[in-house]
């Protein structure tokens, strides 16, 4: 080996912001051809480190070395020249341009003053080929799935001859199948000599592909260890700085049937002929890949989509749900998947966000007048009950963490006095500590007799929460699993219609070996 194995080194890096030390004397390094996972809760300093390595932020103190030589990244270009490429969580693709244009944007091959389309498309096709991505370089990016867009980002990184690719939560928006594919590509990148810094909340993924795992907490480096030398539990403990509460599903004793659906068809066939019953005090999960119809069914049950045939009965009485208002009135609450666009009022205060759905219940004796004292009291009540962390009820929600925002939306549904709660991806974009807390909260609600319909793409979450599970594929309910039969393997088997096991690592290795 002629080259030193140490590709990138970060030594005693500190970054201060007014009032906060985002990174505190941090050390971090990347070897050649390794996948180095970086994990930590929100605010742990991961993003700050990424931004410093990307040249977006400058360190207040400390050094960065590439190939043993100190470097200073004064702007993103400088970092790119050293072979570092960052794929941010929010893609920076230009949706109306083609794949090739996106891959080579600002570095278009030219013939004289004009763009050399032929070379550009050919080079793009070559890179896409190495990624096993079968799309035309001239396809507009907006026509691609999120998973494919992610790969275009990677293609762009590769086209810059990147030696280190930093991926920030790369699987946040991907479905299970795309995740498997991406992990395979990350492995094959590493075996072809590119190093990857893999930043993720999802420890299953981290443990399936990383060579080493580094944990940050509160801006400090906590540990770096080879993957084989640590367990998931140890990493979680290092991330949150304490032992997490019981990670097992409690034993539950469901009560009466509260909601019963017979032969439901949503939107003329997006979901077809689904029947199920839901009891008080149980969690029933809808599982399925994207497009399987489970989220459409949830939306139908909340009046966001049309139920075109079939019946829903609540407490044995027929129920018409043609608008969210009807659902809310019937005691159905909804915690949407995408809280930023479909849940939060970021300009409004915590109080206002909590009470907005339940205002009719809290009017003063004169109709239509608000009762600020009562609202405030309710806000403080839910602050205590759900352990929401905010300093003042008048604070705007835009400044709160994802976990706290999610709890506010949960609190809002509860404030509507709901008896049935529809939860879509209840812990998306929420860090590990808050996740455990939300699980405990859900357990508490169920114990109080609330019935929960859950839709989640995270199988471990499904296993942790659900008593029963209906698996969907292509708009139909394909199987119902309950109790200990709810396993990741069983769910995936039905959801994909294949009898493959979900052991992501096996698949990832397969892809690597096939390369």
């Amino acid at each position: 080996m002629s080259e030193p194995p140490l590709l990138l080194e970060v030594r005693n890096l500190t970054r201060r912001f007014p009032g906060v030390v985002a990174l505190d004397d941090v050390n971090f390094d990347v070897l050649r051809s390794e996948v180095h996972a970086l994990v930590g809760e929100n605010g742990a300093g991961k993003s700050t480190l990424i931004n410093i390595l990307a040249g977006v932020l400058q360190p207040s103190d400390g050094r960065i070395l590439v190939d043993g030589a100190p470097v200073v990244f004064s702007d993103p270009l400088g970092s790119q020249r050293c072979g570092i490429s960052v794929i941010f969580q929010e893609f920076s693709l230009l949706p109306h341009l083609s794949v090739a244009e996106n891959v080579f944007v600002t570095r278009e091959p030219r013939r004289g003053p004009l763009i050399d389309w032929e070379t550009m498309n050919r080079n793009t096709a070559d890179i896409l080929h190495t990624l096993n991505l079968d799309i035309e370089p001239s396809t507009p990016v907006s026509k691609l799935s999120v998973g494919q867009q992610q790969l275009v980002e990677i293609a762009r990184a590769l086209s810059t001859k990147a030696r280190v690719i930093i991926m920030d939560e790369p699987t946040a928006a991907l479905n299970e199948r795309e995740v498997v594919c991406l992990l395979g590509i990350v492995r094959s990148l590493a075996s072809s000599g590119v190093s990857v810094i893999y930043v993720s909340h999802r420890l299953t993924e981290v443990f399936s592909i990383a060579d080493r795992v580094t944990v940050f907490r509160d801006g400090r480096h906590i540990s770096t260890s080879p993957r084989n030398a640590v367990t998931e539990q140890q990493v979680v403990a290092a991330m949150v700085g304490r032992k997490l509460a019981n990670l097992q599903r409690p034993v539950r004793t469901p009560g009466e049937v509260i909601l019963e659906a017979r032969d439901l068809t949503v939107d003329h066939g997006v979901v077809r002929n689904v029947s199920f019953s839901l009891r008080c005090g149980e969690v029933l999960a809808f599982a399925g890949l994207m497009g399987s119809g489970c989220s459409e069914l949830m939306e139908g049950l909340f009046g966001l989509r049309k139920i075109t045939s079939g019946t829903v009965t609540l407490d044995g009485k027929p129920l018409q749900i043609n608008h969210p208002r009807a659902a809310i009135r019937a005691g159905i609450g909804f915690v949407p998947e995408d809280r930023k666009t479909n849940g939060l009022f970021s300009d409004l205060a915590v109080t206002e966000n909590l009470t907005i759905g339940a205002l009719p219940r809290w009017l003063k004796s004169i109709p239509a007048f608000l009762d600020p004292a009562r609202e405030r009291q309710v806000a403080l009540e839910y602050k205590r009950q759900l352990n929401i962390r905010f300093s003042r009820p008048e604070q705007r929600v835009s400044g709160l963490s994802g976990g706290n925002q999610q709890k506010i939306i949960l609190g809002r549904a509860l404030a509507e006095n709901c008896r049935i709660l529809l939860l879509e991806e209840p812990t998306r974009g929420v860090d590990v500590g808050a996740k455990a807390e939300i699980y405990t909260l859900i357990d508490g609600l169920v114990a109080k007799g609330i019935a929960i319909l859950l839709q989640t793409s995270e199988l471990p979450e499904l296993i942790r929460l659900a008593d029963r599970c209906i698996v969907f594929a292509a708009g139909e309910a394909r199987a119902e699993l309950s109790g200990n039969d709810v396993t990741q393997e069983a769910v995936m088997e039905v959801a994909t219609g294949l009898s493959h096991r979900v052991a992501i690592r096996d698949q990832a290795l397969e892809v690597t070996n096939g390369d």
Partner: protein
């Protein structure tokens, strides 16, 4: 309780409040005619005309919309009232004019909610349509009201100022203490979320547009009462002054927030500047330039402020956005 809210509101208010004081002081020094009772009354009256429609506009902007048709609506309502005063009497004619404004506003709302045309385009279309309607109605001629001086009451003395103040109090109360007000802010903050929590966003928007139309009509009536003339060309460009005073007052154009007192101060500021420059014999052309500069200054200040707040709130996400660009 609302310490933080209040502090923020005060911060937003303060640039326009401070500017108002400074500009007022400068004019007071430069020309003795400025600080006379009569002149201040003039300032108040012209401020009130813009303030009334500006207050309506504040609601529209808080609900995440715009109304560009207010100038035309003011003219149309003015003409209708003028022509009807001799036939049905002053008060019924005033009511009819305001109802006309509300109706035009409701149509705006219909176009926005039912045809799903963005408010900017919808009200731009209505701007020309209603202006045309006003000209058709008057056949392009002036409508004079000779001798009907009791109609003049609308524009004399402190009536306009009282009307503006009353509307401001009412809207302020609406936004802060009623469910309807909360629903306006929720709709403006996030339409999809508002629908999901059961807000009847369609009705909210209809009502808001109808209210804007009614305030525009009232402004138009005061304008026509000042000259006792109905004219299809009345209040040209009122939409821009209305939006200007809202922005000067610190209501962000992004919706979900509103500063009612800010709009009042914004209107006063514009009126003081125009009046002062008039007294100093500065040409109307320069007055336009001044108003434009003022608006740009206020906007850049406001965005500077917001981004500073934003940075304090979420440093990391902000930086990520920066990189994404």
């Amino acid at each position: 309780m609302e310490t933080r809210r209040a502090r923020l509101a005060w911060l937003r208010l303060s640039p326009v409040g401070v500017t108002l004081l400074v500009v007022g002081a400068v004019f007071a020094v430069l020309t003795p005619a400025f600080l006379t009772l009569n002149n201040l009354l003039n300032v108040c009256t012209s401020a009130s005309v813009v303030a009334i429609v500006g207050l309506g506009m504040t609601l529209a902007i808080a609900s995440g919309n715009f109304d560009l048709s207010v100038g035309s609506t003011a003219a149309f309502a003015g003409c209708i009232t003028m022509s009807m005063v001799p036939q049905i009497g002053v008060m019924p004619a005033i009511a009819l004019g305001i109802a006309t404004g509300a109706l035009v506003g409701w149509v705006n709302g219909l176009i926005v909610t039912e045809l799903r045309v963005p408010a900017f385009i919808a009200t731009l279309g209505m701007l020309t349509i209603v202006r045309g309607a006003a000209l058709i109605y008057t056949r392009g001629r002036d409508i004079y009201l000779f001798g009907k001086t009791d109609y003049k009451i609308l524009s004399t003395g402190i009536t306009p100022a009282l009307l503006a103040l009353a509307i401001a109090l009412f809207f302020g109360f609406l936004l802060k203490h009623t469910r309807f007000g909360r629903h306006i802010l929720a709709t403006g903050s996030n339409l999809a979320s508002a629908r999901r929590v059961g807000v009847r966003t369609t009705y909210v928007l209809w009502s808001v547009f109808a209210i804007v139309g009614a305030t525009a009509a009232l402004s138009g009536l005061i304008l026509s009462a000042q000259v006792l003339t109905g004219n299809g060309r009345l209040a040209t460009g009122l939409e821009l002054s209305a939006i200007a005073v809202v922005v000067l007052g610190g209501t962000p154009l992004t919706g979900g927030q509103a500063s009612v007192p800010g709009t009042l101060f914004g209107s006063l500021l514009v009126a003081v500047i125009n009046n002062g420059l008039n007294l100093l014999n500065v040409s109307i052309f320069y007055q336009n330039v001044t108003l434009g500069l003022l608006l740009l200054g206020a906007l850049s200040l406001a965005t500077g402020w917001t981004s500073k707040f934003g940075r304090m709130v979420s440093k990391e996400s902000k930086e990520r956005n920066k990189q994404a660009v």
